[in-house]
Amino acid sequence: MNAIKALRILMTLAICVIAVMVGTALWDHYMLSPWTRDGRVRADVVAIAPDVAGLIADIPVHDNEYVHKGDLLMRIDDKRYQMAVDQAEAALKAADVERHLRKQEAARRAKLDSLVISKENRETTSSQAAAADAKYDAAQAALDVAKLNLERTEIHAPVDGYVTNFTAQVGDYASVGKPVLALINAHSYYILGYFEETKLPRVRAGDPVRIHMMDGEELTGRVQSVPRGITDQNDTVGRSMLANVNPTYNWVRLAQRIPVRISIDDLEHHPLIAGQTCTVVIKPGKQDTKQAAAAPAG
């Protein structure tokens, strides 16, 4: 009877101990290991804005199309800019004629005796010749500007990428510096994992990462870098230049989230959409941290 009683107590206590151990392991794993459901796919977006104003004459690309660096995205009606070049060319010609005239005048007067012509007159003509020279240079520069403007009526892709949210239409008026389309750099996709502050001690640059997309796809990557600053939400100024401090509870606090930048190993593996949600799991392996530490030295 005593043996059974001892067995009863022993068995119950044993399973309790196992339960505590397993429970602690799960708690550690779930609450402390660096993973987050709050991950976002990000990409660099170039806001394409025309450098010259005008009516949009031609749009050879379509929404969501892949374009290579240098491809024509949009052409602005260039008639006015063509005319500006013609005008600048004419002005240059006029300046050239003027320059020659003043030069000849100055040369002729330089040769004349001071009995025939006053020193003042000679100086004036030589100054006029120099001014005409400068005017010619200015006309040349104006022509260059006009040519550049004409060139800039064609907007080319600055990077390989995807045209996105393209709403411009042929006939729209494009203003200088006002973006008309977004070009997503195709080689720039990365992941931002928003990690709680509490999990940051286990996040190290170089750690391998598994990325679970919401659509079920799985990617691999590496921790690229941990930022060194986020905005302090209390650091705002109210209307009368006084500090605007949010009230908080003394009892409970919420860990803020830090955006950790993660590079993706194989960008071609799966078509990514900037803004997609994903789960980010960092695997801080001891071997990998050793390798990462050894890499800069070697």
Binding site: I15, C16, G23, H212
Partner: protein, 65 residues
């Protein structure tokens, strides 16, 4: 198994599923033990049940993640 499952567009942690399964398995094991009269080897049945559930849930969660 993914870390979350979708229910009409809302994603829940898979740990909920593990929880339900662990509870069901605990209930079945408890029933079997009662039938085999194994409870006489247990000192404190409710404590035992709780510990059993914690073991199953913890093991399932660790396997999943």
């Amino acid at each position: 198994m993914p870390r979350e499952f979708a229910l009409s567009g809302i994603l829940f942690p898979s740990l909920i599923v593990v929880f339900v399964i662990a509870a069901a398995v605990t209930w079945i094991i408890d029933g079997l033990m009662a039938r085999a009269n194994l409870h006489r080897y247990v000192w404190h049945p409710p404590l035992f049940r709780l510990a059993l559930f914690a073991c199953l849930f913890g093991a399932g969660g660790l396997l999943l993640y």
